[in-house]
Point group: C2
Chain length 196, copies 2
Amino acid sequence: MTNVHALVPDRPVARKRDADATRAAILAAAKVHFARSGYDGAFLRDIAADAGADAALINRYFGGKDGLFAAALKDSIRPDAISQWDRKTFGRDIAKMMANHAHQDNERMHAFQFLLRAATSPATAPLLNEAVQNRFLGPIRAWIGGEQAPARARIVASIFIGLLVERLIRDEPLADNEREAFIERTGTLLQSLVER
Amino acid sequence: MTNVHALVPDRPVARKRDADATRAAILAAAKVHFARSGYDGAFLRDIAADAGADAALINRYFGGKDGLFAAALKDSIRPDAISQWDRKTFGRDIAKMMANHAHQDNERMHAFQFLLRAATSPATAPLLNEAVQNRFLGPIRAWIGGEQAPARARIVASIFIGLLVERLIRDEPLADNEREAFIERTGTLLQSLVER
DNA sequence: GATCTATGTCAACGGCGAATGACATAGGCC
DNA sequence: GGCCTATGTCATTCGCCGTTGACATAGATC
């Protein structure tokens, strides 16, 4: 099976011998694969192939599959990413993003889906509680602020995750009329949670 | 490792030779294991052990792991279950259930978590689109009714799933004050989606 | 250009878990 | 009681995938 995602070129560019570059290529491919297939479903040989590298190098550079996963996880969580959302349009922005078809991916969505995979994969549970609680829920709570911030943050995070899953398992675009209603309702709903 | 869930007795009751009974025992054990560990993380030997049966019987009765999963999935989705919710208290009922600690399980939660595992496990994706769309989203849509039912149903389902995931990865009970606020806000939020 | 090290390649190995098929036996049927 | 089939048990096979170590070679250093 050839790789399906545009972020990783089908014919990897030939690299000179460059440890840093191959390390980066492996990491990039790993993020895609883990996001798409979860920990168990992602295979080192496939990742290496997409990165134009040899599977043995994964062990050399990351110490094994666990190390690669941890590195990819770390690289996927940007603690400051949340604060960059616009408070005024937050709800509608998220809603729009989620209304997209699952296969119209972009890098931000990939990071989210990676987190989702990590969160729901039993094999990676030990890593995850820390990461999700401290790096996802915590920042949201701080960003939201105001009264009952913990509860509101938890609800926002939950809805966020739910939309992500729904998007993941939905295999067709939303019908136009449903799409409008979906964005409108989801948007205002999230927005109201942010504002008070 | 011995099984941890009360639904499956530690020392399975000795059965007479009874294909239906062992089939049922295997199915029950499978639902627990799949719900707890997902498709990849559940092992036929463990399931068989918990059911007090031999792993080979799984192949005989269900045709393999896939067949067992499909059977467990089918058995976990009761199309009529949704209509039994009380329209007046729906929001708060769900919110309360979700506020519980993840390890305080009951049979209903098990079914939900099974669905969640199925939804997020790539190995089972082919099965899922049909199941979730037709047996989960569809019934919710019909039950909700009214204006913009498709969009509202989708949002309710998404929130539902999100709460499920949040509950799954949260490893400690909610603090008392957050708990109250969480139930109150989530409850009214869901309720408003049901009512209009 | 000789040498040396970092980088990359290749071919195994080993474990694990699903699947298979041969064998054992309980329990009905005549 | 003597078969006969459905049910259960056991040992083995098979394939997959992470990992390992031996080997090849590019490219820097002198």
